[in-house]
């Protein structure tokens, strides 16, 4: 408001040529001319939600850490991830990274290698980041049943808020599906162990070999009791001992094939097969191995079988497009030479002396979409054929164990009933992860684990939970791509095919620091101001004022021309009608 303070300027009188200025210049200061009054639209700094952030089931602030990463502020970047996901070294390896599918850069050249950068930061943090200390101590004891990603995440955030947390794990080692279901070549056990050390350093107690009474056999246990020892403790006992219980026991029960002969020797669930390998065993599966299914378990089982020296073959009843497995993993399986037969379904296991010798299959075709939206496979008449196999690994889905919950815990037909905050409707009883959602992904379990922790804390401290925000997502059409050079995505170094043979060495080798920084620099920073100065440089009225870490408009003089909004490379400025602003 400089112009208000100034005296009205005296306008000189021009009588003769010598009174005139040398050129066409205003006779007084132009500050008196408050050109802002001409404005009918005004620019406002208005960050949008980057699509990667919007898509992340864990709610990671991806654009934010890519920005920090670009500035080589690794620790800050790591700590920003930890606000929503405590275990980026895990998701950086096994997440299906929907963020990259949403990345606007894919329209320009290739999406940012967010997954690979996350892994870099996760590994950086494991070796360099200090363990945080809770600011307060709370008396409310929390028991988490299950030590998979949902339980781990809830444990981390609750411990951070000062709650004493005890995790119960039926198996001999913690990690749930991360340990038992995911092969070493994707997630080395050392990484998982280090994340558990981090949890324990924060004060989380982990009780392994602790099965809740009535809990069915877990993964890796063909029969009850072959895994961890039963603790004899019931859900009711736990509810007496702990003020808060969080069910996070996952979905570990494999669906059966449901065809004649399935009890034959040599038929094994893929999950069980993976668990045995993960527990250090080397199951004998022979040479010709059928893997039934199209999900991640099928791919993991087939690639693991290959590493044991077998010749696995994936049989899936739909087509590539309907495969629920992560596309990258399918790609790797094909690269490793594993054949996938589409549109085939088993009808009978063929046995000899109680052992598998082959399978009878039917050709399928795709019919009308089913409730999942995918086209339902229907058998082709008279198309049955036989293939010879030494063993069959089934991977057609997992189910939740509901048998041990007790009458008080609400269930739907196939899972624990809870809202997105993990609230079951029973006081002090929460649930998160696959046991609520059915078999989903690690990152979804992490997101739900965090929300459940938040809900528990909100309940204890009597706060309300935040409303779900509906932010506008930054669209590719609003990115000003003239400001970006095409640059291809940094490839992830990987073991060559020869080096993968007969071992479970990690396939992907991780970005070098420079690669991670350069890859981060490709980020458009969609919808989020990253202080590029374009608005400041372009404003023809010098009405963009620089503040420490941001900008402000001088609306006394901004004419609302919109050049700043137009030239913003990343859609962080919005033009709004002047009358809406008032």
């Amino acid at each position: 408001m400089r112009w208000l303070e100034a005296e009205p300027p005296k306008i000189p009188v021009l009588e003769r040529e010598s009174d005139y200025p040398p050129m066409a210049v205003s006779l007084t200061t132009t500050l008196v001319n408050r050109t802002g009054s001409w404005r009918i639209f005004r620019p406002v700094y208005d960050n949008k939600l980057p699509p990667c952030n919007a898509e992340c089931p864990a709610g990671e602030k991806i654009q934010g850490y890519l920005d920090l990463m670009e500035q080589k502020r690794y620790l800050d970047a790591y700590q920003l991830i930890l606000e929503s996901n405590p275990f980026p070294s895990i998701t950086g390896r096994v997440c299906y990274h929907p963020c990259e599918g949403a990345c606007n850069r894919k329209e320009f050249d290739e999406p940012i290698g967010i997954h690979n950068i996350e892994r870099f930061l996760g590994d950086f943090g494991l070796s360099k980041a200090p363990i945080p200390k809770p600011a307060v101590r709370r008396p409310d004891q929390v028991c988490i049943i299950g030590s998979g990603p949902a339980g781990m995440t809830a444990a981390w955030f609750l411990a951070l808020e000062g709650y004493p947390v005890t995790m119960l794990e039926a198996a001999a080692q913690p990690g749930g599906m991360l340990r038992l279901g995911i092969p070493d070549y994707r997630l080395p056990k050392t990484v998982l162990d280090r994340e558990f050390r981090k949890l324990k350093a924060l004060g989380v107690k982990v009780r392994t070999n602790t099965r809740v009474s009535g809990q069915g056999p877990g993964t890796g246990e063909r029969k009850p009791g072959t895994g961890g020892r039963g603790s004899g403790i019931s859900v009711d006992d736990l509810r007496r001992q702990f003020s808060i219980i969080l069910f996070a026991h996952g979905a570990h029960q494999s669906r059966e094939l449901g065809v004649p002969g399935q009890e034959a020797k040599g038929v094994m669930s893929g999950l069980e097969f993976l668990a045995q390998i993960n527990l250090g065993k080397r199951p004998r599966i022979g040479k010709r191995v059928a893997v039934i299914g199209g999900g991640n378990t099928a791919i993991d089982a087939a690639r693991s079988a290959l590493r044991l020296g077998a010749e696995p073959r994936i049989l899936y009843r739909r087509t590539r497009a309907e495969m629920p497995a992560v596309a990258d993993e399918v790609e790797e399986a094909l690269r490793e030479g594993i054949p996938i037969d589409f549109l085939v379904a088993p009808v009978k296991v063929i046995r000899s002396k109680g052992r598998v010798t082959g399978m009878e299959l039917l050709r399928m075709k795709l019919g009308k979409p089913d409730e999942s939206g995918r086209r339902r496979p229907v058998p082709v008449k008279n198309s049955s054929f036989r293939l010879k196999f030494d063993s069959i690994l089934t991977a057609i889905g997992e189910q939740v164990d509901l048998g041990f919950l007790g009458a008080d815990v609400p269930v739907t037909g196939w899972s624990v009933s809870a809202d997105r905050w993990g609230r079951t409707g029973r006081s002090g009883v929460y649930a998160a992860g696959d046991c609520v959602t059915g078999p989903k992904t690690v990152v979804e379990a992490i997101g739900m684990g965090r929300r459940a922790a938040r809900a528990i804390d909100a309940h204890v401290t009597q706060q309300s939970l935040p409303e779900e925000e509906k932010a506008e997502i930054a669209q590719y059409v609003n990115i000003n791509t003239v400001y970006f050079d095409h640059a291809s995505r940094k490839p992830m170094p990987a073991l060559d095919l020869k080096a993968r043979r007969r071992n479970f060495k990690e396939v992907h080798l991780g970005y070098a620091p420079n690669d991670a920084v350069e890859e981060s620099a490709r980020c458009f920073s969609c919808g989020v101001c990253d202080r590029c100065d374009n608005c400041y440089v372009f404003c023809p009225d010098m009405s963009v004022l620089k503040k420490d870490e941001s900008y402000e408009y001088d609306y006394d003089f901004c004419k609302g021309c919109g050049v700043c909004a137009r030239e913003c490379p990343r859609n962080a400025i919005t033009m709004i009608e002047e009358r809406q602003a008032k």
Binding site: L14, Y20, P21, P22, M23, A24, V25, S26, T29, M542
Partner: protein
């Protein structure tokens, strides 16, 4: 420091010697090498200037206008269609009284598409308010850059200096690049009285109603009138500091001449050779080289030409529907004198066709042999 350099690089060194602060240019043959070298100077730190890349010559001049209005020494270079594209902003630079300096490498206008030299591009900018200097040698190019800034900043008008495409622009000569210390002595830093100032913002180039506009234009004419003594003084001071002298015009062996050739640009150098051989034969032929086009050095033209019976003006340009532009200018300058020389107007070398000593010799012979010009335009070398 002596260097063997092309005319284009002589311009670059001239700009460096002038410590220009903002350069904005768009590439065009035959000018491109000028700003190429300047961009290298900027990149390597040999010249503390901001190099602004733009998408057209119109924008290049607009950037220079803004830079100059902000109080910095601005420079650009162009040719032919590029200069024509700048036309609107050339008016603006002059009207806003901004002492921008522009190097124009004379190139014929298309079509037919040509990259070779003639003066139609620069001379057709006659009425924009810019001063123009025409150069004969690479040494003159370097020196004229410094002189241009000195004059421009004293009278607050833009200056264009001109060199012939290829004949100078791409031809190497020995050039003495002045010492920076001497350059600084000759050309002090640019400190305008009025410039863009955030503390006292003004509207520059604002709407001027009929009550105001007329006086502003009056002042522009006054500035051109004031320029004549300023140019003279700038040349004298240049000679004092650097020991090389030029003028608005230069008379070469004109004593007792019965014929004086009038030349500009590199044709002057060719003509000098012919004059020397004519004088050796005892013929009374001299040469007047003109360096300054706008303001017109009327007094110098009169002093050099009124005492001569015949004048042959060599124009490497044409104003269609009238004739050679230098001819019109000189005729107009001499008009109010009761006794005037007989003027022969030659058009030659359009679109870069070579102008050789033989051509000049034929002009001399023809003029001496003719009592009156046979036509308003005498075409040399056109295939009729």
């Amino acid at each position: 420091m002596k260097k063997v350099i092309t005319g284009n690089h002589a311009v670059s060194f001239g700009a460096q010697c002038s410590r220009v602060q903002v350069i904005s240019a768009y590439p065009i043959t035959p000018q491109t090498q000028i700003v190429e070298l300047l961009s290298e100077f900027c990149a390597s730190g040999k010249l503390a200037a901001k190099f602004i890349k733009v998408e057209s010559e119109h924008s290049a001049m607009a950037a220079c206008v803004a830079a100059s209005a902000a109080g910095t020494r601005a420079f650009t270079a162009t040719s032919a269609q590029g200069l024509a594209l700048m036309h609107e902003v050339l008016h603006w630079a002059a009207g806003a009284r901004l002492p921008i300096v522009l190097a124009d490498v004379n190139r014929a206008m298309g079509p037919g598409w040509s990259v070779w030299t003639d003066q139609s591009d620069s001379l057709s900018q006659r009425d924009t308010g810019w001063l123009q200097f025409y150069c004969e040698s690479n040494q003159e190019v370097v020196d004229t850059c410094l002189i241009s800034y000195r004059v421009a900043e004293q009278i607050m008008m833009p200056v264009m200096f001109v060199l012939d495409a290829f004949v100078l622009s791409h031809t190497s000569e020995g050039v003495d690049i002045p010492e920076m210390e001497l350059c600084d002595q000759y050309l002090p830093p640019y400190k305008p009285e009025l410039k863009l100032d955030l503390a006292d913002p003004r509207s520059f180039g604002a709407l001027s109603n009929p009550d105001h506009y007329y006086e502003i234009r009056y002042k522009m004419q006054k500035a051109h009138e004031q320029a004549l003594p300023v140019v003279k003084q700038a040349h004298e001071e240049f000679a004092r500091i650097f020991g090389r002298s030029y003028g608005m015009t230069e008379s070469y062996r004109c004593e007792d001449a019965e014929l004086v050739l009038v030349t500009t640009g590199t044709i002057t150098g060719t003509a000098r050779v012919v004059i020397d051989s004519e004088r050796a034969k005892g013929r009374r032929v001299g040469l007047l080289k003109i360096r300054l086009f706008r303001p017109t050095p009327v007094a110098e033209l009169k002093a050099a030409l009124l005492k001569v019976p015949k004048v042959a003006i060599i124009d490497r340009n044409i104003s269609f529907g009238h004739g050679g532009i230098w001819t019109q200018e000189i005729k107009s300058a001499l008009y109010d004198e009761p006794v005037r020389p007989t003027i022969f107007s030659y058009i030659i070398g359009i679109g870069g066709r070579d102008v050789t000593p033989k051509d000049i010799q034929e002009i001399v012979d023809f003029t001496l042999a003719s009592e009156r010009p046979p036509a308003p335009i005498i075409w040399r070398g056109v295939r009729l």
